[in-house]
Structures are given as structure tokens and as C-alpha cells.
Symmetry: C2
Subunit: 349 residues, 2 copies
Amino acid sequence: MIDNPYYSQDNHGPWQVFDAGDLALEAGGVLHDLKLAYAVHGTLNAARDNAILVPTWYSGTSKVMEQLFIGPGRALDPARWCIIVVNQIGNGISSSPHNTAGAQAMAKFPRINVGDDVRAQHKLVTEVFGIERLALVFGGSMGAQQTYDWAVRYPDMVARAAPLAGYARNTDHDKLFVQTLMEAITSDPGFNGGNYRSHQEVAAGLARHAKLWSVMGWSTEFFAEEAWRGFNFKSVEEFQAKFMDPFFTPLDPNSLLVMARKWHDGDVTRMTGGDLAAALGRIKARTFVMPIDSDMFFRVADCAREQQLIPRSEFRPLHSLGGHLGLFGFEPAFLAALDANLNDLLALD
Amino acid sequence: MIDNPYYSQDNHGPWQVFDAGDLALEAGGVLHDLKLAYAVHGTLNAARDNAILVPTWYSGTSKVMEQLFIGPGRALDPARWCIIVVNQIGNGISSSPHNTAGAQAMAKFPRINVGDDVRAQHKLVTEVFGIERLALVFGGSMGAQQTYDWAVRYPDMVARAAPLAGYARNTDHDKLFVQTLMEAITSDPGFNGGNYRSHQEVAAGLARHAKLWSVMGWSTEFFAEEAWRGFNFKSVEEFQAKFMDPFFTPLDPNSLLVMARKWHDGDVTRMTGGDLAAALGRIKARTFVMPIDSDMFFRVADCAREQQLIPRSEFRPLHSLGGHLGLFGFEPAFLAALDANLNDLLALD
């Protein structure tokens, strides 16, 4: 185990821990003694029908989701909804390579699929909260992958689904991008096959990984308009050194890799023998598919292809100058448009 | 010196060599005893006014340009035009780190700018051929950078300019992409600061570099439509392993880095104190600016911004499913549209 202060309650809490026990994994094997960290905003009503589930994205935590999406006056208002934010497996807070002791620590942590997260979350939602139906599942990026998986796996349990900037089945192009992210880390000699003593031994690989996020994460127009000046930097070099590098280099490399492999392999058609129309056709939720118009890897066209296969869905693309990292919510108009969509969706029966 | 069979006359010849002598470099210092390799197709007429100059792109050679763009019935028809294809400095055939002996070999090869190439090419064109005015300068990608530099540096010498899929001044976003390409190579321990004994010692870095080219070089739609099937592969993995990897991994790492640094720093405003409007305003050539609509890093919007600053120019975007690597010319319609543009341009006074 490695004590990485980034993942502390001080930084990303408060959270509670659900002891999910042993989880049989889709790809084979068992994840032992799974700890699922979650945070709750608002109160579950007597009918238990006001619950919203928010899974996390790559590198995200329950605190990040709270800060971006939850609050009084927002679509996700704790005064009305009981919002359960759950940290995905491997995100550094729920069970992850660096915070697991013993036989599954570090490089020995097993391969996790998105579906494993969703089955563990199902256990949390039903056993801890006694919820039979979620009013909404909402997630961005890898959170969208989990949202799709929920809607396909448990169609009667998801009343509404709002996948933001993500795919139900990952594309070949996006897989190649994720491979470059993984290879930036694993190619660092300091990575040592996953058995480093500190994430700082992988600093060079993490910095290369951060630069790939700049190239593909933002949009070309973000740079053309020098939108990084809005972050109070004077040059792209300073933006990279003082924003992108500090964002990614404190993270645990094995943690990023568990998430990246999940992202890479995200595919709801594992439930339908590879048939995407069959998988998405199972969805009973009112679904708003929300790609970001400038996203370089979760592309509008690819999201539209999926939306067309979902029975009760609408296509609700969002504008951002930021590309995929418009998810960072630096544009008030982006968050307002997102909330308007979520309010529309929550108003549907 | 390293004998790399990729760069042989058998593979990429025939070419001739111009001994350009010592070249004072924009970034400082001197490149000694520059050998500029070039190939000529067609015959210079008595008026010496039918010459077309074609510089090469990143990884490109005079043979590649010939195969893609030159031939009977093409816009660049040797029956009418005298087409001079010149290998850029550092491309592995003209003077490059691995084919240079002595004090400037390998890691000691100096930093080259696009303007250095253009001044050396000017010497070739005037001293060897006695040409006072080029009917056309045409180049794609880094060839477009050289085309722009020619038109700005020698406005009275360039009657027509056809920059295809490239910028006059590189963008911040594209610089970040080029940095990831360079870092994929230099981070390989086998690179050894540029002093490897064989490019095969850098095979892992070259393969990561090839994967970055897949992510950014092609378009997302290329993968969505599985256009790689047109190359007779059965999976993306096979396409990567049998096309992209074999394309890039035989190349010399230092050679790629010399070109990448040039590409990164490409900027005609070095001639006008950073003023893009002033630089492009100098151009007297009839100019067709031709971005590729699906290009992920030489973007249509950024090319359009430059075109608007060029006095006698037209915006002539080309369609390809292939993104930037539409330049590989795998679509007959792309090459036909390009030739139509070039014919239109060559018909202008």
C-alpha cells in the first residue's frame, strides 16, 4: 500500500464506505473485500423514489462531481433529490491498487470492467438504501459508460438516464487514444511493471500522459482562442506546467491504469453477444444523449449513432469550447445548458 | 553514421545530390556540407518558366511525392512541367543525423528551421537550374510549411502557391501534438539521447509514435467506417501492427526528431517580427489554401484564418475520410479533387 495524500478525506471527502464484499468479475476472478466509497447529498424520501445515482469519470472523485453538478438551484438539488455519488473502482478512493493490501495490491489488482462497477453499485443501491428504481443515472465520460451499463443491465431500475460525453460501446479510435494514455505511463522505467514505491517515480510518464490529455482533451479552438488565459496563465507552456501537469501527476499510476482499461473495454454489448441494437434496445429509461460538440474522442457523430438505437431517447448535444474537458465546467453557459437538459429530463414521466 | 536500408536509392531513388555547402542556420550555427537530394521529372523549357517545386513532408521522400502527385494526365504532368522534388533536410535522404559523419553526426546534428530548408532550396533552384521564378510551389503538411515560407520569403519568385494541409504559422495545439510525437521517441531508454547504434534500439518508442499517428493522423470517421478494411486488414489491431508500425518503425529516430522540431517551430512570422498579417500580406503568389476537412491537427478553421490574410488567395478545402493521412492518397476522389484545384491554379495568371 502507498499513502498518496491526493486521495485523502481532507481533499475529496467526506465519503462513506460500503463493504461490498467479494465481487465476481466479468473478466474472470474475484475482487476481494471491495470497499465502495460514496457520498450522499439530500434525503431519500419515504417512497424511495427520489434517488439519483452519479458515478465518477476517469480521475474523478465524489467531491469533484459534487462541486460541478450538485447544489441548491442546480438540476441536482439536494433539497429535492437524494443524490448518491459513487467512486468507481480503481479511482484511488474506492478499492484501488495502491490502497489495497495483500494479494491484490498494486500490479496484482485484477482487471475491472464497467459492468463490475455497475453490479457493485447495484448492491450498494439496493442493500444500503433499499432503492428499487433510480429516478436518474447521470454521468460524464466514464460516468456515461456506467450510466449506459446501468440502463442496459437493469432496465426496470433506471427511470431516466443522462449519459454525458461518453459511449455505450467504445469506438476503435477512442481505444487507440486510451492505449496511448496507458503506454505513456507503462513505458516509464519508473513504473516498474506497476511496482513503484511512489507515484513520483513515474512522474515523467504521468507528465507525458498529461500532455496527451492536452492534445486530445481540449479542442483545437480552445487553443486557437487562447481560452487558457481564462485560467489566468500567460502561455500554453505555463498552462501545461501549472494546470495540466499538476492535475494529473499527483495521481496514482496503477489507479489510472485500472480506469483506463475499463474505459478502453467499455461495451454494453457484452450483455447481448456483441449486438449494439439489441443492447440499447433494452433500455427503458427516458434517455438524453449529450455529447459535447467539440469533443475529440467521444464524438458527436458516434454518440448520435448510439442515440438512434435507444427507444425513448433524445439527442441533446452541448456546446463547449473546451472539447471533452468542457466537463471541467469552466463555462457557466455549458453548466446552465446541462442543467436545463437535466431539468427537462427529470420532468419527463 | 548508421546504414539504414530504408533510405536507399533502391527504395526511394533515383535522386541527385546538390552540394549546397555550408548553410548558416536561422536558429544559429552552421550546417556543414549540406547535401540536398532532389529528383526531376520533366524538362525545363528555354524560358525556364515551367518549373514546379515540391518539397517533402514529415517522413516523406522524393519518391513518395512522385508516386502520389506526379505523372502523365496528372496536374503535375512531366510532359508540360519541370517538377523538382526536393527532400527536406533531415528526412533521411538529404543531410540527416544518421547519414552525416563527424562533428554533426547523430545527436550533434544542429537544429533546423523550415526557413533553412527554403533558403537551401533557393540555392538549388537558382544555382543549379537558373530559375528566376517558380510556376508553382506545392507541398502537403510540412511541405505546406515550406510552401508558405517560400511565398513569404521570396514573393517575386513564386507565381503560385498550393499549401495542402498545413499552416504558415504553427498553432499551439499542433505544437503540443508534435511534442507528444517527440516525447514518444526521446522517452525510450534505447534512444540514449540520440546516440543509439540502430533505429531498432528505439523500436518501442517508434511504435508509440506510430500509435499517436493513428489517433491524430486518421480521422474518427475513418475508424467509425472501418476504412482500414480498404487496406485489406481484418481488424484495427492488424492495421496498427501491419501498416502503421511498419510505416514508421523503419525510420531513423533522429531524422524524425529533426523534422518534428522544424514542424513544431514552423512560423513565417519569424520574417516579420511575429506579425502574421504582415507576413502573409507579403505573398504575391496566386495561392490556393487546401486544408483537409477531417484533419485533426491542421484544422480547417485555422487554415481559413490564414487564408483570409493572403491577398490573391482562394480557400479550397478538400474532402477526405482519412483525416490528415488522407495525404496518403488512398481515395481516388481526393486525388482527383486535388488535381482539379492544381489545374485551376496553374491556369491562373
